[in-house]
């Protein structure tokens, strides 16, 4: 079997008496979409923050592209090729859509940031940004100030910025949240095609999207992964049904 692109090994994280992550292990293999689901407060976002590098685990290992990245911060992991989208849109609200996307392209290009040439006139990063915006369907809103975008469009922009990074793995924290049926469908189609470019660790509440997309699903409840498997297996798992899926019926 091929080596996983990203693997989380026995991570623990406590906030005082609260165990936010209990011995969590999961991996992300090339070409797959691995969905992480769980009820609110299960610790999904805490786990994502530890994988992205903005939070250190108390113990355990995170390996990315075969390298132990546990001591690395967000920037180092991003430079290695970890593309993250945020649950609560984290965008430069005063800037235009294009400026936000170009920022991603500039970051991805690495190296020195020029002081004199114009960022938006640089064709290389502009093209990367345009391509990403077109893929998410924001090509008609490039000059719009981000604060004026709808909630759903902000989600699309989040994904577009991650695309400009041309990452080796995507970490997406609820990209569908707040999207209408049309937007959700469109994004589902996009993510479906994206997995061949880089595998996706997908945190999502939209179960239709999860079961339509995910090669594997892990279920996180109270900081613990209670099951990992294909959609069929998860649906059939009695523990998952009682802990999570059952409650929704």
């Amino acid at each position: 079997m091929t080596n996983p692109v990203l693997s989380v090994q026995k991570i623990n994280k406590n906030f005082g008496a609260l165990q936010a992550c209990k011995n969590v292990s999961l991996d992300l293999r090339p070409g797959e979409i691995h969905a992480l689901i769980g009820p609110n407060g299960a610790g999904k976002s805490t786990l994502i923050r530890q994988i992205a590098g903005s939070l250190r685990p108390d113990s355990g290992l995170i390996r990315f592209l075969g390298k132990d990245v546990t001591p690395f911060g967000t920037v180092a992991r991003a430079r290695m090729g970890l593309g993250r989208t945020f649950q609560i849109s984290s965008l430069a609200m005063e800037d235009t859509v294009l400026q936000n996307a170009v920022l991603g392209a500039i970051g991805a290009a690495g190296g020195r940031l020029g002081l004199f040439k114009s960022a938006l006139k640089d064709t290389a990063s502009r093209n990367v940004a345009l391509e990403a915006l077109t893929r998410v369907g924001l090509q008609d809103h490039m000059a719009t100030v981000t604060a004026e975008l709808s909630h759903g469009q902000r989600r699309q922009l989040e994904v577009a910025i991650a695309l400009t990074l041309k990452p080796k793995a995507f970490i997406m924290d609820e990209p569908m949240a707040g999207l209408g049926a049309g937007g959700s469908k469109r994004l589902t189609g996009l993510l479906d095609g994206l997995r061949t470019q880089a595998p996706i660790l997908l945190v999502e509440h939209d179960m239709d999207a999860v079961f339509a997309l995910a090669n594997r699903i892990s279920v996180l409840v109270y900081g613990e992964i209670i099951a990992t498997g294909t959609g069929e297996e998860i649906r059939a798992d009695p523990q998952v049904r009682s802990a999570y899926l059952g409650e929704e019926e």
Partner: protein, 324 residues
């Protein structure tokens, strides 16, 4: 043309025409006032890079203004007395040399102060930059070699090749050219990849990290650039007065530079020019009416902060238009 462009053009014309008129009408005092506007605007352009682009509310830019001033004072006083500076090298009374020294010294000061201060943010950042400014203020007071509390007089204005800097209009031309250069630089910086990232880091540092850029490096570089421009203004200000004193380091100086930026419009390219021009006009007009003209300045500032958040430029030009 946007309204902001029209206002900026009007400001440039005003800043050039007033001294030219004064030159023709033989009003050297007006030329000197205009020179002061240009120099203080330059200091504001520096601070505006920190506040407007970087979101770093520095209440200690007098430190760089003063370092620039003392760079001039120290070099020129040694040139005056034909003694070496710190026993190492000769002084200088050439403006370009002094400017380079002022840029280097204030840049180094900004690097040190920035590296320590940027560990904090918000109110703590304001306080720590204020503290550094005050440290340099008291250091200048207690340094007898360069005049201590009394300051240091330089009898001759420093020279610039090919010009007679004692002629007010010629010195004005020099300061104006430097201001124009700084404005051009700031305009390009704002649109550059560095400026884009810095601006984004002000709004959401997390995003900038996620695309693989260190926000702290961006802020520190911007803080150094900002301090250098304000330091250059300090050297010119000292040359304008032919006098350097610890007042340049005082927190009131930091406050005044901040007032130029806020009056004119935070983050607006020409904000500091408008702010410094209004400040000097008020000082001149109101100062003639009452010794306590700062009360009126305070009222105006209060109105700007309460009712006209974008300052003069923001109010006249409307909200900022996004580029491209």
């Amino acid at each position: 043309m946007t309204r902001e462009t029209i206002i900026n053009t009007a400001l440039v014309i005003g800043l050039l025409m007033v001294p030219l008129w004064a030159w023709v009408a033989d009003e050297p005092f007006i030329i000197t006032l205009s020179t002061k506007v240009a120099i203080l605007a330059l200091a504001g352009v520096g601070l505006n890079i920190a506040i407007g682009m970087g979101g770093m509310i520095s209440f200690g830019h007098a430190a760089f203004f003063g370092v620039g001033g003392y760079a001039m004072g120290i070099l020129a006083s040694h040139a005056q007395s034909y003694t070496p500076v710190f026993g190492l090298f000769e002084g200088s009374n050439s403006m370009p040399v002094i400017w380079l020294a002022a840029l280097a010294a204030s840049g180094m000061a900004a690097l040190g102060i920035g590296a320590l201060s940027l560990r904090t943010s918000g109110a703590y950042f304001i306080m720590i930059t204020l503290a550094f400014g005050q440290m340099l203020f008291y250091f200048a007071i207690s340094w007898p070699a360069y005049g201590g509390e009394d300051g240091l007089s330089i009898y001759m204005r420093n020279g610039f090749p090919g010009l007679n800097t004692l002629v007010p209009i010629q010195f004005f031309a020099i300061t104006c050219a430097l201001l124009a250069g700084a404005l051009l630089f700031a305009a390009r910086l704002a649109k550059s990849p560095f400026g884009l990232a810095l601006n984004a880091a002000r709004q959401t540092a997390e995003r900038v990290e996620t695309v693989g850029i260190y926000p702290l490096k961006l802020r520190l570089s911007a803080f150094v650039i900002s301090g250098m421009i304000t330091g250059l203004a300090g050297a010119l200000f000292a040359d304008l007065n032919r006098f350097v004193s610890p007042t340049m380091f005082s927190w009131q100086t930091s406050g005044e530079i901040m007032v130029f930026v806020i009056l004119g419009g935070v983050g607006r390219l020409f904000g500091p020019v408008a702010g410094a021009a209004l400040f000097i006009m008020l000082e001149h007009v109101l100062g003639g009416l009452s010794e306590f003209w700062h009360i009126y300045l305070g009222l105006i500032l209060l109105c700007v902060v309460l009712f006209a958040r974008g300052g003069i430029i923001g109010t006249l030009a409307g909200r900022g238009v996004a580029h491209d």
